[in-house]
């Protein structure tokens, strides 16, 4: 009996050893490779695009740089894989990329396929107004009822989405973003309803011309995605992002946030860590 138990123990310890050998260690792989392979897109400022000098730029890109800096102490050690939105999950699953940071909305459904990191931005819809226009705030527009016209990009439930914030507003749906902005510029619409990130970027690109009505709704969380089953890797990325938003790398995160969205994120309170509340 004793022998049997010993034999079983030997076999099980062997299994443990061999399964540990099989366990991929993405963090170690990335370190050994000497660069981080990041999946993201191009052509979507302020998220991911090529700037005038042809370099990858945008908030997603900066988030990836924070991770690379955390690994190598050097945020240039990145290879960007240009991928469409529909390739975000497949490229993670098939190990084509170590991480995808590409304005990916967190949903429980997607979380069955990939692991999401902690969020680095919360997207929503906001109202863009012209500076010195008829309305100044969301409240004023709500009070004005059906006297208000809102332009929006034609999309699924676009009208319902606007009505969540302005139940009585007239909604004009346009087929392209530039027509939506033109409607606002020409006074055809009193406000344009668009993603808050796009809205802030647009305000920043056109200083003194537009204002934010100061109301955001329809929240969506943006996180990076990594392969399932790589808990160490996920923990590492989470730590890097967490410290960028609350700790030693806050200055980097805040500078990037301000660069792309025109506003500074709230300072982490010193003393008791706020996220533990």
């Amino acid at each position: 009996m004793k022998r049997l138990i010993l034999a079983l123990m030997a076999v099980s310890s062997l299994t443990i050893i061999s399964s540990e050998a099989c366990l991929a260690d993405k963090l170690a792989d990335v370190i050994a490779r000497g660069k981080l392979v990041v999946g993201t897109g191009t052509g979507n400022p302020p998220w991911h695009f090529r700037d005038e000098s042809g370099q990858m730029a945008g908030f997603d890109v900066d988030v990836a740089k924070i991770v690379a800096k955390g690994i190598f102490g050097d945020d240039t050690k990145i290879e960007f894989v240009n991928q469409g939105s529909d390739a975000r999950i497949p490229n993670i699953v098939t190990d084509k990329v170590d991480i995808t940071c590409q304005f990916m909305t967190v949903t429980a459904e997607r979380a069955q396929q990939v692991n999401f990191t902690i969020p680095y931005y919360r997207e929503g819809v906001g109202l863009l107004l012209t500076e010195g226009g008829k309305y100044k705030t969301h409240e004023e527009m709500k009070t004005a009822g059906n006297a208000v016209t809102v332009s929006v990009l034609q999309n699924v439930y676009a009208e319902e989405m606007v009505h969540m914030a302005l139940p009585q507003a007239k909604v004009d749906q346009y087929e392209s973003v530039d027509l939506m902005y033109q409607a606002l510029n020409s006074g055809r619409a009193d406000a344009a309803a668009t993603d808050v990130s796009a809205l802030r970027w647009f305000i920043k690109q056109n200083p003194g011309k537009y204002v934010d009505a100061g109301y955001g709704w329809n929240p969506q969380t943006y996180s990076c995605g990594v392969k399932r089953g790589e808990q160490d890797w996920l923990n590492f990325v989470n730590t890097a992002l967490h410290e960028a938003m609350t700790g030693v790398d806050f200055a980097t995160y805040a500078a990037s946030f301000e660069k792309w969205f025109g506003v500074r994120p709230p300072e982490p309170a010193v003393g008791f860590p706020g996220e533990m509340r």
């Binding site: 332009s151 034609q154 999309n155 699924v156 439930y157 004009d172 749906q173 346009y174 087929e175 027509l179 033109q182 409607a183 510029n185 020409s186 006074g187 055809r188």
Partner: protein, 219 residues
């Protein structure tokens, strides 16, 4: 091809499609009515003795016929408010399409006028009709009869042009098809349904115009 058709969404949204079609027809009728008046006036004016009037008409026709309708529509909708003239989106589209229709119809009526035999005009004058009455009772009916075939083509073409109103958020048939398309991803079904409605409406319009043509007395 692995596309599987499902026309359920079309039936479910049939009322929206038909409303879109009705709006398109209303836009077309209004524009055709205004454009026809404009075209008639310009066609007769182009025969005027005064050089100025002829030049104005020629300039109008040349200018408008060489502009894409979409450019006119966008100008009227987005640029005119900035220049101080603000029409509603339907009115702005009707104004654009009327202006466009007017230019084409001027040419159609001018061709019709050219086909009125000199002899009947002289005959009218000979029996003591005034010039105005000759124009109204002699020239106009013959010209209309001459113009009918080309008129039918132009009307149908103008009806199809209402699809451009979708660009300025007018909820006509093309807008509806695009909306259903975006909302349900039944891409083929939405455009097929729109095509079917456009074709059948145009065929009906053509049949109506042919009947009209037959009922017109021949000269």
């Amino acid at each position: 091809m692995s596309y599987s058709f499902n026309f359920g969404v079309i039936w479910a949204n049939l009322d929206t499609f038909l409303l879109g079609l009705a709006l398109g027809l209303a836009l077309a009728f209004a524009s055709i009515a205004i454009g026809t008046v404009l075209g008639l006036v310009c066609a007769f004016a182009s025969l005027a003795k005064g050089r100025l009037l002829r030049t104005v008409v020629a300039a109008y026709v040349t200018f408008v016929r060489n502009l894409p309708l979409l450019v006119i529509v966008l100008f009227a909708y987005f640029a005119l408010p900035r220049l101080g003239l603000r029409l509603g989106k339907n009115e702005s589209f009707i104004a654009s399409l009327s202006l466009y229709a007017g230019a084409y119809l001027t040419e159609v009526f001018r061709a019709g006028l050219a086909g009125v035999p000199r002899g009947v005009i002289d005959a009218g004058l000979a029996i003591g009709l005034t010039r105005a009455r000759v124009s109204l009772y002699v020239v106009l009916p013959i010209m209309l009869r001459n113009s009918l075939p080309a008129l039918g083509t132009t009307f149908i073409s103008l009806f199809k042009d209402t699809s451009l109103a979708a660009t300025i958020a007018v909820q006509e048939l093309t807008f509806v098809a695009r909306k259903i398309n975006v909302e349900t991803f039944r891409v083929a079904e939405a455009w097929l349904a729109a095509s079917f409605l456009y074709i059948s409406t145009c065929l009906l319009l053509a049949a109506g115009l042919r009947r009209l043509e037959r009922r017109f007395p021949k000269f």
